[in-house]
């Protein structure tokens, strides 16, 4: 994985795990890789991976079973989708509208593209 993106590495790791939950690579109550396994896969410091897991545990996307590891919370996927949707509405859409205004693109043109999408 290339950490070119500006976010802190532990947040990028957390995002990546969330992507995998959305894609249902890990389903509700599935065990996710251990901190060590995940840090090896992405070639990062174990302490960074710990930070990513703590972040996800705080947000209740994963939960810990003592001695067994981390598991996907039953509501994780729903919760991530809700969170991502909020991000889309609050950040991406205003930026899109700004670009549309700048480039004088009418909403009808966008709707047309939307309906003809493959």
């Amino acid at each position: 994985m290339n950490f070119s993106n500006n976010k802190a590495i532990y947040e990028q790791m957390a995002d990546r795990l969330c992507d995998e939950v959305i894609a249902e690579t890990y389903k509700a109550d599935d065990r996710i890789p251990s901190v060590r396994e995940y840090s090896v896969m992405l070639e990062v410091n174990t302490n960074t991976a710990v930070k990513a897991y703590e972040l996800l545990a705080r947000e209740k996307i994963i939960y810990n079973k003592r001695g067994l590891g981390y598991f996907v919370s039953p509501n994780a996927r729903k919760q991530i989708l809700a969170q991502r949707k909020k991000g889309f509405m609050n950040d991406m859409l205003p930026e899109l509208f700004r670009q549309m205004t700048l480039l004088e693109i009418d909403i009808k043109e966008v709707v047309e593209e939307w309906e003809n999408r493959s």
Binding site: F3, N6, I9, R36, E43, V44
Partner: protein, 275 residues
């Protein structure tokens, strides 16, 4: 674990002091990056910690015992991987038999795991190996020693392109939990995502001595275009994606990934003058 107090050192016949009153302390379970331009004393510092060189003044202690005394209980907790070395014409098996006794927690299991991760055979005759292959074996042995402190001088020099990623995997996956590792290097991109803590050495002073968390809380690393260059910017370099920038981080803005090369350039040019 390691305490360095008022360290002074110069090489015999050379009046120039490499260190003049250096203070430093190192803890368990950390990966330290030791950076500095050529000739600033990175390797000298590693050798002073290991007891291979002796301070002129001041002291270096490992668990409270001065390392220059070379006591067995200290030597069995430190493993040095120098930048260049010769291995005797032995097989790994023979080498292991001779050396593992010096390291009470030596783990055959970790050794084999490291060698496997490095794509190396579990036994080999050193005579037939290239420099890079010897380095992989030596580093595997170092990690398997389970010493409290591993010192690696330019560990990724001489490794081929895929092996640099393997090096990160080996360290991330096999470094024992209570061990600390100091990586002295110029190849910042080979190791930056492994580090917990950054040291930058210049003119016998640690001009940067901060954990990765502290750096990420204090500075923002980003790319900005010309209109975004406000007075929060501390240091900037032009790049293809716009200006690569270090700025004062605003209290509520999200943390960014540390750009170690940029940090190094800013620090060695004296732009981070808050330390």
């Amino acid at each position: 674990m390691i305490e360095i107090k008022n360290l002074e050192f110069n090489y015999p016949g050379n009046k120039k002091k490499v260190f003049q009153g250096l203070n430093l302390s190192l803890k368990e379970n950390r990966i330290y990056g030791l950076l500095g331009k050529n000739g600033m004393g990175k390797s000298t510092l590693l050798y002073l910690i290991a007891g291979l060189l002796q301070p002129k003044k001041g002291e270096v202690t490992v668990n409270g015992i001065e390392s220059k005394l070379r006591r067995p209980e200290v030597l069995s907790e430190i493993y040095v991987v120098p930048e260049e070395y010769n291995l005797p014409n032995l097989t790994l098996k023979q080498y292991k038999k001779i050396h593992q006794a010096f390291y009470p927690r030596f783990s055959e299991e970790i050794l084999n795991r490291c060698l496997t991760d490095f794509d190396m055979p579990l036994d080999a005759n050193f005579k037939h190996l290239s420099m890079g292959q010897k380095k992989k074996i030596y580093m595997s042995f170092a990690i398997a020693s389970c010493c409290q402190l591993l010192l690696m001088d330019e560990p990724t020099n001489g490794l081929d392109i895929p092996s640099k990623a393997l090096f990160r995997k080996v360290v991330a996956g096999n470094l024992p939990e209570d061990s600390s590792l100091i990586i002295s290097t110029h190849q910042v991109h080979d190791v930056e995502q492994l580090l917990d803590h950054v040291f930058i050495l210049q003119n016998s002073e640690m001009i940067v001595n901060a954990s990765v968390n502290e750096l990420a809380e204090q500075y923002e690393f980003s790319y900005r275009n010309a209109t975004e260059m406000d007075d929060s910017v501390i240091y900037a370099e032009p790049s293809l994606q716009g200006n690569a920038v270090i700025a004062h981080k605003k209290a509520n803005s999200p943390e960014t990934t540390i750009n170690l090369e940029l940090l190094f350039n800013a620090a060695t040019l004296g732009k981070l003058n808050n330390k």
